[in-house]
């Protein structure tokens, strides 16, 4: 047992590091109070695109992709190594490209025509074109396949009407991966078809969604008679659900970490050091110490779980299901730890922003935690996934598989 690279990994890491040193500045130490900032766009979109282009040129934008598509045909572990090293530098964020390169383009690679692949993969890799994912709808959140957006065939075109929701980056995306219902008489999972389209198409309207926190990281996207050429269909008509599963499978491959904006025990420790309670420094209070320990073992457990996953990658194995536990643990911990910190702050805990202790870091964490417990799979959906895919327990009783979609309760 050790934490060392293999010889090959060490060599690759050196290569990456040399390149980064030549092309970026080392990251300055980040204050706990900025903890939430890591979620946000470091620098403008222009800077992000410029950095993405640089990475793409060198093959680091997607290490695992085949060389002819702009990758290095490298291993998943090499991708992890690149990410670790880039994390030590003060680069622009790759966030705007994550969904496109992580989910949309891999789906295109699997189901798209040779032409479409040649046309779209490299511009996306370079960051010239940004993609978003258009699956969720007001009627289909946890139950993605419950979506209602209608696509009707007219000659060689499809005419699409309906609404999508929770679309990250729709407002700056050039293309979108769209799942729509092409047959309402078919069974729920059999009437869906996958397309991609230009977000500039006439009839596409993007509206930001204001979140409880006040921020707006997601959008609603309204479709009114939007025309999509049949050539932009991915997979056969009615097989959209199968295609979507490919996309979602790629979503789950991401190795955890960075979740929760990095607000964690370290920040709680600094706070507990700084504050005086009834009986002296908060850090000396037995109740405070027990809570710190409880949260520390969960954070450490996740960190070392990630090491185990990386070890599997490093040995060329598929990452185990361990990764699936990260969000459940992090989101609730963020919510509870933040609430607890606010109580340590006393009445001042009810303030936010610059008026609150530590620039309102814990208030921000507490306000964002409910979103983290929901986005990308609610706690309840993730527990189902663990129970079914990891433990092999039976699926929930399904009443929506046999009936035609338009006869399902709630779908009327």
């Amino acid at each position: 047992m050790d934490f060392e690279d293999t010889a090959e990994e060490a060599a690759f890491r050196a290569e990456v590091r040399a390149w980064l040193e030549a092309n970026a500045k080392p990251r300055r130490h980040r204050e706990a109070s900025d903890a939430m900032a890591v979620d946000e766009d470091r620098g403008s979109m222009a800077a992000a695109k410029a950095w993405q282009a640089k990475k793409a040129q060198r093959g680091f934008a997607r290490v695992t992709w085949p060389k002819e598509l702009g990758g290095l045909a490298g291993s998943a572990m090499q991708q992890v190594i690149y990410n670790q090293e880039e994390g030590k530098f003060d680069t622009a964020s790759g966030a705007p490209f994550a969904i496109g390169l992580g989910m949309c383009i891999p789906t295109l690679m699997a189901y798209g025509s040779k032409d479409s692949i040649e046309r779209h993969v490299k511009p996306a890799l370079r960051g010239d074109e940004i993609w978003c994912q258009l699956f969720s709808e007001p009627a289909g959140g946890s139950d993605v396949a419950g979506l209602r957006m209608r696509a009707e065939k007219h000659g060689e075109e499809w005419i699409v009407n309906g609404q999508k929701i929770w679309t990250s980056g729709a407002h700056f995306s050039d293309y979108g991966l769209l799942l729509a219902r092409t047959d309402a008489q078919a069974q729920k999972h059999k009437g869906l078809t996958m397309f991609y389209l230009s977000m500039k198409s006439p009839g596409v309207e993007v509206r930001p969604i204001r979140q409880a926190s006040g921020a707006a990281n997601f959008n609603e996207v309204f479709f009114t008679d939007v025309r999509i050429p049949d050539a932009q269909r991915l997979g056969p008509v009615g097989e959209g659900w199968k295609v979507a599963l490919t996309t979602l499978m790629h979503e789950r491959l991401a190795v955890g970490g960075g979740l929760g904006g990095g607000l964690d025990v370290k920040e709680l420790l600094s706070l507990a050091r700084a504050l005086e309670l009834e009986d002296g420094p908060a850090i000396k209070n037995a109740g405070v110490r027990e809570r710190i320990a409880d949260w520390y073992v969960r954070s450490a457990g996740l960190k070392y779980t990630t090491y185990r996953t990386m070890t599997a990658l490093s040995r060329g194995q598929q990452p185990g299901p361990e990764a699936s536990i990260a969000k459940i643990v992090v989101a609730s911990k963020l919510q509870d730890l933040s609430a607890f910190a606010m109580e340590l702050e006393g009445e001042a805990g009810a303030l936010k922003g610059e008026d609150a202790p530590m620039h309102g870091a814990f208030q921000m964490g507490w306000m964002s935690a409910p979103g983290l417990r929901i986005a990308g799979g609610t706690d309840e959906i993730l527990r189902n996934i663990i129970a079914e895919r990891v433990l092999g327990l039976p699926p929930d009783i399904r009443v929506d598989k046999e009936l035609p979609f338009n006869e399902l309760p709630g779908a009327r």
Partner: protein, 375 residues
């Protein structure tokens, strides 16, 4: 055994619920949440006209002269609708402090204007993050002048009067403390609005630079007096919390019945059913503890401190849990600004932090248990 509110008190509750249903829709809360004003002035006026601000103030001082049980009933309804008014600061804290320690002259002068809703009051303890302890109080009160900073002060921008916990003597601990009543419109007072997690209930920083103030009660008792006022306020606020928690359960239940996923009402999934059952359990326990607190408050029972701490802790836990799991039950939309879940989530935390955090109340509760068992 008669451990419930009377029929008259229940009528008052129904009346309050109807009234607030009309006069305090969610958009009133959003109006204050998104606006610059510290409270909904029209609603405050209407509430005062109902006489609620003077519910427990004796008729001799312009109040209705009803008991605290009636005030509890009203508090639950105010909590249910998240009423964006300085009711707690003015009625539970300021008025109770004057009633508990004010001189006859002070009561004559101050209480009628509180009862009529003309004046807003508050109570200021905290001066910096962390615990409020006798030693932590730096604001000075010497020769009738206040000097120092109180922050955050709930409803501090809107209040005309405030009771200030300050240091009058040389003693650096409890015995050096005093309570002062100050006119916040007077000279030597500067206020600054602060950002709050629940902007429907705003806070201020108040800087005193030799502001004229008068003494409340006799020196040396300031800390125990503050503690008594907090006990009484905790029971009343527990009813606001119970009202809010109750509303969260109703919202979650309605959504679980109306929302379909996988071809079923989401309320038919055990993950949701059991979550809501747990909210119900928490709310029932909180309500029962609040009822006992109400009894202790209204009868001045010897174990008020124990009853208040239990009511406070249980109601805080119930509202926290109900508010966050209501949001979770709603899924994505629950996290939008458009849906109302976040208003309750924010208020639950606001109330959890007002009057001091759970830790302090738990410690107090165990102190009381030690005393009672010592017998």
């Amino acid at each position: 055994m008669n451990f419930d509110f009377s029929d008259d008190q229940k009528m008052l509750r129904d009346q309050a619920r109807r009234f607030l249903g009309e006069r305090c829709p969610v958009k009133a809360v959003r109006g204050v949440l998104e606006g610059a004003h510290g409270h909904d002035a029209a609603l405050w006026k209407a509430i005062a006209e109902m006489g609620w601000t003077g519910t427990a103030i004796p008729e001799a001082y312009g109040g209705l002269g009803l008991g605290h049980l009636e005030l509890c009933v009203i508090a639950e309804e105010l909590g249910r609708v998240l009423a964006p008014v300085p009711f707690a600061s003015t009625v539970y804290l300021f008025a109770e402090a004057i009633l508990a320690a004010g001189s006859e002259e002070q009561k004559q002068r101050l209480l009628p204007r509180i009862a009529s809703g003309e004046r807003i009051g508050t109570f200021a303890r905290a001066e910096r993050p962390g615990a409020v302890t006798p030693k932590s109080i730096r604001t000075g009160f010497k020769g009738g002048k206040l000097t120092g900073t109180k922050t955050p002060v709930a409803d501090g921008m809107d209040a005309r009067h405030a009771v200030i916990l300050a240091r009058a003597g040389e003693d650096g601990g409890e015995r050096g403390l005093a309570l002062a009543v100050v006119d916040l419109d007077g000279a030597g007072v500067k206020r600054r609005a602060l950002d709050s997690i629940d902007p429907s209930r705003k806070h201020a920083e108040i800087v005193f630079d030799g502001a004229a103030a008068e003494c409340l009660g006799t020196g040396g008792e300031a800390w125990s007096l503050t503690s008594l006022v907090l006990d009484r306020a905790a029971v009343l606020m527990a009813f606001e919390q119970v009202g809010g928690a109750d509303r969260c359960l109703a919202m979650a239940k309605d959504y679980a019945l109306a929302r379909f996923a996988f071809g079923r009402q989401i309320g038919s999934f055990q993950a949701i059913k059991h979550k809501l059952a747990d909210i119900y359990i928490g709310n029932e326990l909180a309500r029962s503890n609040a009822y006992y607190g109400a009894w202790a408050l209204s009868t001045g029972a010897r174990d008020l401190a124990l009853a208040a701490a239990a009511a406070r802790i249980c109601a805080t836990q119930a509202f926290d849990f109900a508010a966050k799991e209501n949001m979770q039950t709603h899924g994505g939309v629950g996290f939008t600004w458009e849906y109302d879940c976040h208003l309750f989530y924010k208020r639950s935390r606001h109330l959890a932090l007002a009057l001091g955090p759970q830790r302090v109340w738990k410690d107090k509760l165990v102190n009381e248990l030690e005393l009672s068992n010592a017998a």
